[in-house]
Amino acid sequence: MADDGVLDEGTETAALREVLAAEHAAVWGYGAVGAALSPDAREPAVAGDIAHRDVRDRLVALLDARGADPVPGQAGYTLPFPVLSAVDAAALAVVLEEGVSAAWVRLLDQATEPSVRELAVEELGAAEVRAVGWRTAAGRTPVTSAFPGLS
């Protein structure tokens, strides 16, 4: 919750902007994921990229509608590790999905509007479904998380 324990539109908007920043990073990162995969293995990366672009645009519209400045995307980001293989690409996608998941959970904690929580829980679930596929591709076990966004 907010430092003083009070939730209001301000806490919700701040958390929405954090999610948007994470979605910008995911869109950029999926470019690196796709680039490291062979053309016949890119479909999940393309699907992830489209999903994150869609939700990014929804968030921008939501923030615009409430008169809050949307967070702009950065020109570039630093990769957390070199992405030189399909396994690296899958591991990066896991990082991206877990990053947005943490932002969505933060929004759930800070939101006041049920419609915002509905959006958050829907997208949190979608991110975890994608993460399961990428953890599998990266050879991770377990492939699931008990509490996506909390660890």
């Binding site: 919750m1 003083d4 324990g5 009070v6 939730l7 958390a15 954090e18 920043a21 994470a22 990073a25 950029w28 990162g29 950065q74 020109a75 570039g76 980001y77 630093t78 990769l79 957390p80 990066l92 990082v95 991206l96 990053g99 998941s101 943490a102 932002a103 969505w104 959970v105 933060r106 759930l108 904690d109 939101a111 006041t112 049920p114 419609s115 929580r117 509905e118 958050a120 829980v121 829907e122 949190l124 679930g125 979608a126 991110a127 975890e128 479904v129 993460a131 399961v132 596929g133 076990t141 377990p142 492939v143 699931t144 998380s145 008990a146 509490f147 996506p148 966004g149 909390l150 660890s151």
Partner: protein, 161 residues
């Protein structure tokens, strides 16, 4: 350049969440957070959270039934996570009851000779939808907990596909 994977949003690592869960226990017991000024939990919200404990008990029971029906499914990781989720929900809803409620929320058995994996996936999917709906009607740490559990079960659905 900006790191691609910045640290988790400030204020909500697992440790902070655990602290929030402890706070929930106090709130659900009728104590307000006093100096923090956090809003008290309504009886209605507390009851809803307790209702989700029963939903999760059914998930745990479904994993046990599926494991007995088809040990080859190798469900130990998923079953363990379902149990962790149940423990966390119980901690956040101390007014919930366990064993007696569990019997009333037990899932229907898988159809004889049917596809146990598909049956289990349906049970998990139904519970995920229930937690997600309840999440939208909660606030603060309770919404975060239910949302994370719902998403975790969505992941289980994907793994069982």
């Amino acid at each position: 350049m900006v790191p691609l994977a910045p640290p988790a949003p400030a204020g909500f690592p697992r440790r902070a969440f655990l602290a929030a869960s402890a706070g929930l226990a106090l709130l659900a017991a009728g104590c307000t957070a006093g100096s923090s000024g956090a809003p008290a939990v309504s009886t209605e919200e507390s009851d809803r959270l307790a209702g989700q404990v029963a939903v999760q008990e059914a998930v745990v029971a479904a994993y046990a039934v599926a494991t007995s029906a088809d040990p080859a499914l190798a469900l130990s990781d998923l079953a363990a996570q379902a149990g962790e989720q149940l423990d966390r929900l119980r901690a956040a809803a101390p007014s919930s009851t366990s064993s007696p409620a569990a019997s009333s929320s037990a899932p229907p058995p898988p159809p004889p000779g049917g596809d146990v994996r598909t049956w289990l996936r349906q049970q998990v999917g139904g519970a995920a939808a229930s937690h997600a709906a309840a999440c939208a009607r909660q606030t603060g740490a309770r919404a975060a907990l239910l949302g994370a559990v719902a998403a975790g079960l969505r992941g289980h659905e994907a793994a069982l596909a």
